[in-house]
């Protein structure tokens, strides 16, 4: 038993403070992005989700320049960007796509400027890499209270308008007919997503923020049809990917090339991707078996459109 444990967890895993912080912060962020991300996937806003995380890095680098806490920089810019996307995007999906792209472009341009100024003013050239790629092991424990508080607030807001959000995400026409303020809900949701994604981007890097807000929810929506269940499954898949990734990254210190740990972002992203593919294969097998059983019956369910509830919108 002991030997198995030692093979799985490299020595010192449970005694290391950075690992503790990474496990806790990673779990909190994965739960929030998983829950928020289910709606991101249903609403088809993966691009916006990714853009907000990347644009946040402009705020992060500006805050670094001014000596402020980067978290507020990340969040402030992300919320402004969310407002701009909503304002420019109108209702047509293609205009929305272009608006998101332009806001992302402007944000990245600002990030380029601030990062350049950061690098020249402080001569710590590693800033570019840290802000863009982040690292779970660099999370400080002091950040924990504000991370938990912000996560709780965004989950609470989502819980309050859950039914309206769900209805307007699945069918905005139906929601409008039933008196749901679709536009306002859209803005509220975009702000929640901005908070969740920039929180994730600040703590674990922009790559992982995108991976967690899209990957686990998309996987969950392949596995279960019920939105409520998908919220929970997405959170669990996210936590599993992050924790497994941390264990592997810690163990990788003993892999070739010796004495050099592999980045944790790589492991988490690879796991998220594998889970998504595996879920697709699973549902594919299940569907094939079902259709074989109903070989003689008319193929009503063969369209498979239930997998993408948002496609109709």
């Amino acid at each position: 038993m002991n030997q198995v444990m030692r093979a799985l967890f490299a020595p010192g895993f449970f005694a290391s403070d950075p690992v503790h912080a990474a496990l806790v912060v990673g779990a909190v962020v994965a739960l929030v992005t998983g829950a928020v991300g289910v709606f991101t996937v249903i609403r088809g806003q993966a691009f916006a989700g990714h853009a907000l995380g990347e644009v946040g890095s402009a705020g992060g680098s500006a805050a670094f320049l001014g000596g402020a806490n980067p978290l507020w920089g990340f969040m402030g810019i992300a919320i402004v960007a969310a407002g701009l996307i909503e304002l420019l995007g109108l209702h047509r999906p293609r205009a929305r796509d272009v608006a998101t792209g332009l806001v992302l472009g402007a944000g990245l341009g600002l990030a380029a400027l601030f990062l350049y100024l950061d690098a020249t003013s402080s001569s710590t050239t590693g800033v570019t890499v840290t802000i863009l790629f982040g690292s779970l092991f660099a999370v400080s424990q002091q950040m924990l209270p504000s991370i938990v508080a912000l996560s709780a607030v965004s989950l609470l807001v989502m819980a309050v308008c859950y039914r309206m959000l769900l209805l307007s995400s699945l069918s905005s026409d139906l929601a409008a007919a039933r008196g749901v303020p679709v536009r306002a809900i859209g803005i509220v949701y975009l702000v929640i997503m901005a908070v969740a994604v920039s929180l994730a981007a600040e703590t674990i890097g922009a790559i992982l923020a995108t991976a967690l807000v899209v990957g686990p929810p998309a996987t969950a929506l392949r596995l279960t049809k019920r939105p409520g269940g998908a919220l929970v499954v997405a959170g669990l898949i996210g936590v599993a990917a992050v924790w497994l990734g941390i264990v592997l990254a810690y163990d990788s210190y003993y892999w070739p090339p010796a004495g050099h740990g592999w980045p944790v972002s790589f492991f988490v992203v690879a796991l998220v991707f594998l889970f998504y593919l595996a879920a697709g294969a699973l549902t594919g097998i299940a569907q094939a078996r079902r259709s074989r059983r109903w070989e003689t019956a008319p193929r009503l369910a063969a369209s498979g459109c239930a997998e993408h509830p948002g496609d109709a919108a």
């Binding site: 691009f47 990714h50 796509d97 050239t125």
Partner: protein, 262 residues
Amino acid sequence: MVNTWIAATLVAVIAGVVGFFVVLRGAAFVAHAIPHGAFGGAAGAVLIGVNPIAGLGVFAVGGALGIGWLGRRGRHDVATALALVLMLGLGALFLSFSVEYAAAIYSLLFGEVLGVPSDELLPIAGLGIACIAALAVLYRPLMLTSIAPDVAEARGVGAQRIETGFLLVVALAATMTVPVVGVLLMFSLMIGPAATAGSLTRSPRNAIALSVLLALATVWLAVAVSYLTYLPVGFFVGTLGALSYGGARIWTARRRGRTAPV
């Protein structure tokens, strides 16, 4: 500096033409994801000591094919996001093994005015010609599947094959433009001028021409100002793109307001 001008001009023409179709198809996410993800390939090429452009090309084409394949089974934007993060995750892995550090990465990400050696001009021009040729062949089916997908299907145009072809064109364009403008802002050069042109004129041919002109103006201005101020090219490209679109939207809105019957 002369090399940069030539390269920047080539880049602007390609970005203007490809960008028109990107905006038409609402494919901004793909146009962002392919060059950005290809950065991982450049990092890998640097690690094994190959020309970064080769790495960019391999990852860009691989990413395009991957997005096309995944997008057939699931949602397109989800597929794009996952392909992007996977490529970037690999990039993070390669970077961590590589001793090449911040400066080289920074110029790949955000562009470099003086970063174009003479021997890179020929491949850039070659890729550009390939891009334009592919778009000329694809022009009619691409327009049809973008504007009227139902009609295209009825006439037997394979939407999926056209989509894959289009993704490959974006990958080609990404590979050639990245060394000048940088992976992060390359897509901004595709979207900004094309979206501005699209909001000013309705005719596709005029829109393409206007988009190329605006892209040229954007890049020339960005390169000149960047050369004078030493600030990154990407900053000017990104902000100019957003500003010109914002300006065009305000102008058309005001003109419409003036001509509309009261």
